[in-house]
């Protein structure tokens, strides 16, 4: 299958702030995503995973490299790539329904169809009852639901999600994970999802791209072959999460050392063990 989203040799550096050379945020990142695939980008903070998402969204220009969506090279932001931000980014002067309709208006879709589409996706995220509510009347989780419905209603070729559940409480997050999985299967969307939560990545993704920092590159792409829909309790997923965590450990340490300097030492990572549980020793 041909790649649906093709990121080739992508680099991004920022001009230095105080005299030094430019800072490389991304270096030579190459990633291919198939149509309908769910790919998570995980890595320590500052590894450039959000930058990559912004470049794909067209919100930031790359220094080198090409991004193709469905074979076409992207230039600038466009409605063919829907984005869900960490904060819902809803418009406070519009009610929920109008928020979802707004991008459709810019896309030149007729009023009747706008309404119908908005209501359809509002039902998909179970918020029909709140169509007339304003943003400040909604909880954080509800706002993200609206943001997801808004992005889906644009019928984008690809859905970009930048830590969409990071600011939510754990219970709400768990429920939204299950729902996103279901929505993804219903809507048949290609999803690129940035997170620093390895369990989230293991639960949702078909493949997980693990980043290393300074400069940001993809260290390893880990397929998670377990079929959807998945169960949170699944042991294999927990194992996959541990593999990601292990890959990330050095990166996270590197990031902390980068911030705190050599003074920082990793605490001894031995869990206190009970001799009783230590079966098999000394046989």
């Amino acid at each position: 299958m041909a790649a649906f989203l093709e990121i080739t040799g992508l680099s991004k550096s920022y001009a230095a702030r105080n005299g030094g050379g430019p800072t490389a945020a991304l270096r030579d990142v190459t990633l291919e995503v198939a149509e309908g695939e769910f790919v998570c980008l995980v890595g320590p903070s500052g590894c450039g995973k959000s930058t990559l998402l912004n470049v794909v969204a067209g919100l930031e220009a790359s220094s080198a490299g090409v991004v193709r969506v469905a074979g076409r090279v992207i230039s600038g932001a466009g409605a063919d790539r829907g984005m869900v931000f960490q904060e819902a980014a809803l418009f406070p002067w519009l009610n929920v329904l109008k928020n979802i309709e707004l991008p459709l208006r810019s896309m030149g879709i007729a009023r009747a169809e706008r309404r119908e589409r908005a209501l359809h996706f509002l039902r998909m995220v179970h918020l029909s009852r709140f169509a007339d509510s304003y943003v400040h009347e909604l909880s954080g989780g509800m706002r993200q639901r609206v943001a997801i419905a808004r992005a889906l209603a644009m019928d984008p070729k690809i859905l970009l999600m930048d830590e969409p559940f990071a600011a939510l409480d754990a219970q709400t997050r768990d429920i939204l994970h299950e729902e996103l999985q279901q929505i993804w299967q219903e809507a048949h969307k290609t999803i690129l999802f940035v997170t620093h939560n390895v369990r989230e990545a293991a639960y949702l993704a078909d493949r997980v791209a693990i980043f290393s920092s300074h400069p940001g590159t993809i260290k390893r792409v880990l397929p998670i072959l377990y079929p959807h829909p998945r169960d949170k309790e699944n042991v294999q997923l927990a194992r996959a999460a541990n593999v990601i965590l292990e890959e990330l450990r050095d990166e996270v340490e590197k990031a902390i050392r980068g911030q705190l300097g050599e003074e920082w030492k990793r605490p001894a990572d031995r869990l206190p063990r009970s001799a009783r549980l230590d079966l098999g020793r000394g046989i």
Binding site: R81, A89, F91, W93, S106
Partner: protein
Amino acid sequence: MPSPEDVVAAFARGVRDGSFLAGVVVSMRRILIGYGISLVVGIGLGLAIGRFKLLEDTVGSLVFGLQTIPSICWLPFAILWFGLSESAILFVVVMGALLSIVIATDDGVKNTPPLLIRAGRTMGMRGVTLYARVILPSALPAIVSGMKLGWSFAWRSLMAGELLFVSAGLGHLLTVGRDLNDMSLVIAVMIVIVLVGLVVDRLVFGTAERVIRRRWGFVGARA
């Protein structure tokens, strides 16, 4: 200093013989024109300054400088340019109201949350569309407070302008009171000025602000 009874009597006389009503009508007509011009030019200019760096560096700083000038200082200008005419009064009104509207609009544009602009761009909006659908509505609360401020400046400038000549407005009635040495008339007219200012403030701006506060969730803490 006149007694309260004298003021009440002067007030009643002015209301009865219609001179207050006539004054209010004339003044309101002027302020509607002058304030209307200020709104159109002020919001337009504010949006442009907020959008274009070049305008900000040039006109922007000039606006901030001029804002410090009390509107009464424009009187000599007005008389030299327009003579003792309707246009002179309108000029003073516009100069009084315009700048605060420009500044508030520019502020509102600059304070648009970047996240909302980014969200708009990922929806394929750019240029005028982005401005009309995201930046302008986001700036609306700031623009309304600028309009409110502009209104009170316009009202004050109008009264100053009307003192200029036989202009038939409320300001002119003040001059009449002075010329006749009728302090009770002066105070009665001042009361009318306060009342008109208050009514417009409450009715027009009070309503607009209430709607916006509710919509934007600024009063959400109560719920």
